[in-house]
Assembly symmetry: C2
Homo-oligomer: 446 residues x 2
């Protein structure tokens, strides 16, 4: 519900939870949707989060758990009993149950499955066989399928018997006797067609079903490119096994964007993770940077003599390094975006490289004149002003090479270029920055 | 179409366009959907892009133009005549036409509007009055509305008369004689209800319509929280003026994520922008970094004496600065994510601040021991090893203060914290890093 009442409840809970009585909070929670409650939990520090969750009724817990990010979901699930969890997920859709159960320790999962009805267990076990990041992980089995020889009239009375269609049902699917996918039929087309017509006459066969093994990001691309609400999913024999709906695809898009943003800074945690976990998630990145910082430092170490003679080289050297780092991050970001959107390929990478080179030379000229002028104004030394300008141009050109090659190489070795890229790239520009500036100084000033 | 044939055409065009004859390309384009063609255009350098676009038929151009990013769309539109543009957009939906026309120079827009039929002109002029980043900018006027006293039977025959329902029609809307919004009616509910029932008996009144002035990011939140396919839009008097559909909302989500990623690196351009434009888009950020780099340099300048005496301080000082920069970027990223998802508010910011402080102290202890050990191993100087460890802890704590306060302050002054944040934050950690390390060295080593 884009319900202003429930939205107010959300605001009240977020801003004043500590001033409210438990009964007041319970009343507010009752007015909120599952995803608003999930948002409130994600916006709360751990203690308050556990309190809010404990105030939910068991039958609400399932929907809320599904809406939560993986980390918080696992925390909360680990605090409730098996019986309560089974009760909580009972009414969920298959993909939602699987999403919650798949992260459990194996023993606990087996325990829970063995306490479910045989039908549920079979269904969930099939769902659990699909990897999380594929079409199978987004699969719902609540499909409605009809045969090509059915008349529209038959289809309508069949639908009427269902009393309630599954959410986001914009189409139903047409299969043969072997349950092989033949085509699809829009609900809006059913309603606007003559009741005497046959399914085969009005069904759409132009759309191809999604393969159950397809990567979930590619599923998102297909949905976006074709403005889909739902799509059929088939196994490798072309048999209809379920459907994917747009709401789950939107979650994939959001999570993907979230991971890109966090990955570039080397953080992987929810906003209100406890300190120990947050520290752990970030220390790898910081340690990696420590190594690269010592690599940059040992470059400077080569030039102790020249710094000893002309001490303001030490003052100026971080400028060259820092400018290269920013330029490299810009190039890296453009390449990462192009790779994510699958815009970059062998046919246009040369063009892109030349363009980046042209950009770095254009900006290099402008910036090196600026740097040269400021440096001259500051230290009244024309030689050093010229040297820093030249070093800056060299470093901006190195930033292009690093910003383009590093993500491509990381990708070649099946690493996520968003995650490793920025630290590697700025190390290169630091080293080249110190090397070019102090190196030129050694040649021309000693 | 998630059509494997058209997907193959896309791949062939992207990889081999330069080896194909114009007729071969034309044939491939014919097999592709508008959004695949748009993707091919966005993945092509400007020259090839203009060639591909020129091979499209006029009636295809409209759909393709709408699917393109703003920058490329404007480039291509500026190359075609008014007559061709009018012809191209003729068949588009209102929000699509408005999306394309609103970026035109005023004179050209007036010229085009005056060459359209009166009905089209009126309709488009209304659409143009809504700002781009509001619900109004996503508005479609292709709504189907019925009255509460209509029977389901009447509704069905009315729908049947439409022959084709607008795309993404999962529901129709219920209004009174004054066109005021009363409720909505799912198509799936129409099909499963008894034909004799009245609209008022089965309509849903639980959902509130979206206000035409609502920010488009909030529209996206409402769609996500409630898993909507479409929603009604009303003016300030509660009158139904149109609807928003999920496909346009997905575009908002994608663009928002794209801008966050690019904003943090200070780039704002499409992947294959020509060099002049790309250089211009990035030079502001680089110039800003130049200023901050000189600020950091002047901090070092204060300590020329101590560096002159102990030259390897210059070797080690970038380590402290660089570690602080990485830690600050991590904190900044977490805060930016929390602000974007509206998770951070006055009630939990103190908890977050304390958590970040705890993280920086935890990681500070681990990392300062490491830095101290490596430094001692390198320079065999216990005092300098202790000093660099202390400076690192100080800078990690300063990184928390910067990483949290800078985005909050930028936001207070209505600046996008994603865009200004990272340069300001790393300047602070550079200055504090140099100041603490060289300052401690001055006190204890001279």
């Amino acid at each position: 519900m884009s319900d202003s009442k429930s939205n107010d409840s959300l605001k009240t809970i977020l801003d004043d939870a500590s001033n409210l009585s438990l009964n007041q909070i319970r009343r507010l929670l009752k007015k909120m949707t599952a995803s608003e409650i999930a948002h409130a939990l994600e916006s709360s520090p751990p203690k308050q989060r556990n309190l809010l969750f404990s105030l939910l009724k068991t039958e609400e817990e399932g929907d809320v758990l599904f809406e939560l990010g993986e980390e918080i979901q696992q925390d909360l699930v680990s605090n409730i009993s098996n019986e309560e969890l089974i009760e909580a997920v009972k009414e969920l859709e298959l993909d939602e149950i699987v999403d919650i159960l798949q992260n459990l320790p194996e023993e606990r999962m087996n325990n829970i499955l063995s306490n479910m009805s045989l039908v549920d267990r079979k269904r969930i076990e099939i769902g659990l066989t699909f990897p999380d990041n594929t079409a199978g992980g987004l699969l719902n089995t609540d499909v409605i399928s009809v045969r090509p020889n059915n008349s529209i009239n038959e289809v309508i009375s069949y639908l009427r018997d269902q009393s309630d269609l599954p959410e986001n049902t914009d189409k139903i699917f047409v299969v043969n006797n072997e349950n092989e996918y033949l085509g699809e039929l829009l609900i809006s087309k059913i309603i606007t067609s003559k009741p005497s017509m046959l399914v085969r006459e009005i069904m759409d066969t132009e759309f191809f079903p999604i393969d159950v093994d397809l990567d979930d990001k590619e599923v998102a691309t297909i949905f976006e490119r074709n403005d889909l609400i739902s799509s059929s999913v088939v196994d490798k024999d072309g048999k209809l096994i379920g459907r994917i709906t747009i709401d789950d695809v939107v979650d994939v898009i959001r999570e993907d964007a979230d991971q890109n943003l966090l990955g570039m800074a080397g953080v992987a945690e929810d906003t209100f993770a406890p300190p120990g976990r947050a520290a752990k998630s970030r220390v790898f990145w910081l340690s990696l940077n420590l190594i690269t910082a010592f690599i940059a430092a040992s470059t400077i170490n080569l030039f102790q003599d020249v710094i000893d003679k002309i001490v303001y080289l030490a003052v100026l050297m971080p400028i060259v390094a820092s400018m290269g780092g920013v330029a490299a991050t810009q190039t890296l970001t453009i390449v990462l975006r192009g790779l994510t959107l699958e815009q970059i390929n062998t046919s246009n990478i040369r063009w892109l490289f030349k363009r980046e080179l042209a950009v770095s030379i254009l900006n290099g000229i402008v910036l090196s004149i600026l740097v040269g002028l400021v440096t001259f104004g500051w230290f009244k030394d024309i030689t050093i002003a010229i040297l820093i300008s030249c070093a800056l141009v060299i470093n901006l050109i190195s930033s292009v090479i690093a910003g383009i090659l590093v993500p491509l190489i990381l990708r070649k070795f099946n690493q996520d270029p968003a995650i490793g890229g920025s630290v590697v790239v700025t190390t290169i520009t630091d080293v080249v920055g110190f090397l070019s500036f102090l190196g030129l100084a050694t040649i021309y000033l000693i």
